[in-house]
Subunit: 318 residues, 2 copies
Amino acid sequence: MNVTVLAGGVGGAKLAHGFALCQPEIRLTVIVNTGDDFDHFGLRICPDLDTVCYTLAGLANPQTGWGRKEDTFEVLQCVAELGGPTWFKLGDKDLATHLERTRLLKEGQPLSRVVKTFCERWGIEAQVLPMSDDPVRTMVHTQEYGWIGFQDYFVRYGCQPAVKDFAFEGCERASPAPGVIEALEASDLIVIAPSNPWVSVQPILSLKGVSSTIHSKKAIAVSPIIQGRTVKGPAAKMYRELGIEPSALAVARHYQPFLWGFVMDELDRGLESSVRSSGIMVLITQTMMHNEQERLTLAKKILTFSKEIYQNRERREF
Amino acid sequence: MNVTVLAGGVGGAKLAHGFALCQPEIRLTVIVNTGDDFDHFGLRICPDLDTVCYTLAGLANPQTGWGRKEDTFEVLQCVAELGGPTWFKLGDKDLATHLERTRLLKEGQPLSRVVKTFCERWGIEAQVLPMSDDPVRTMVHTQEYGWIGFQDYFVRYGCQPAVKDFAFEGCERASPAPGVIEALEASDLIVIAPSNPWVSVQPILSLKGVSSTIHSKKAIAVSPIIQGRTVKGPAAKMYRELGIEPSALAVARHYQPFLWGFVMDELDRGLESSVRSSGIMVLITQTMMHNEQERLTLAKKILTFSKEIYQNRERREF
């Protein structure tokens, strides 16, 4: 069974890890947002790719949601002594990833090949694909500062500015990375992870051929919003600022054209019938993933759910 | 009294430090070779500038001759785990310098301004100037590999290839950094430090206006060769491969047009008359600098020597 997960950062990484723990019964591809990528100190930084890879490799810092576990900050400390910027927390181990990635990119290697090399080195079995080898930059239109880069919004300004709009600079020229469309087409199950719909999943969907392929196959999405709040990140705040009541229902409506099924938390049971009435099948379960076991459990439930949906469709179609 | 030192790496840094310890009685400018600068992992690395600044700031690693004292190698260790290159030993503290320098250069700041900022941060009183804000790259013509960059020759191939020639790419277009010609012109004493004449001092002399200014002022050079050998680095080997017997005499002849005075080690006393016969005044003293005290002692002896030369000239001229 081929499973493809569309992922942003922490939430996406955790669910991808759950599916990775189901290997080798399934074959897993993770397509990762690169709209957050940026250059800092001359180095290419790919926050979501790193979060996904560190998580799959067991190297992630479980406390922070970014960076590597047991990391030190010797370099950043010395940067601070020189008066340099420290708003982006670069750990020493983490920095090695950015250095070697930058070196390989400057050699002319595409990002997807760099990621493949790193995954081999880190013993990651799943196929991890950047959404594109071409630059796509998520821009956030804010009340206070106008259009700003995602990292400025996210880290420098701590998601404080009110958002008005988003743009994915370069998405119209960018191609999906080699393997992205192929993986989607070969999928028995496409999962939209509990990542930020606006700035983690939308950049992936903005690429040529991705939306239409997912549309023709249909996907299962997992709500990143529980009881009107996000576990991490500004998704709920963004919905509110854009005039939409943040809820699992809002997420279901967001992805509606792509969905066969929708996974929402048991705390949102009250919204179940509203989602069902849009013609989407619903799985109500615990979606919080506090540990490895809960990641695996959620992934297994989604696999079972997808088989039910499939059988349901088979019955209807024949 | 204005003293300007032309310096490469370790030997130059030590003598510059000796003069720095004579402050505030003298005003010190150090003009540093940037021909060894190169890009690695997308970062600008300036080995001689860093050696000079670390040494003046008391941050240098006294064992290695490069890098910072009490440094760690967490980042490089993780780069190695990714299969990246580790031939250039980047310590964690050292890396911070390269990161922040690269960031400021990418912001559009000239290298000389970056160096000034770092010197202020590190509490360095002397004026440290890169020889140029423009790129000049020392190339080494080798028997085995043809023309190669200096760092490849020096670090990657460990100075093993036999040299045939040197070139300073870009030197004809490069201008001396702001302050370089002014410092030379305002100098009461110009010192050519015991650095490699071929690849540390020659790049500085190759810049527009530098040779002629030094020529008109005259300098005192300190031999980096003692008993036919160098304390550190390939200078003696280079002389030999170029068909010149490596000796303090060879160094004196190398710099002859620029010299009023020449400082050579007491172990080379036998060569004194040969150097004197070229019309150069000679100071014989211990030139090895094993510790801070010996750096200061050598600098003080050179200051006294320069006053003697000056008085001598005064007597002759008037």
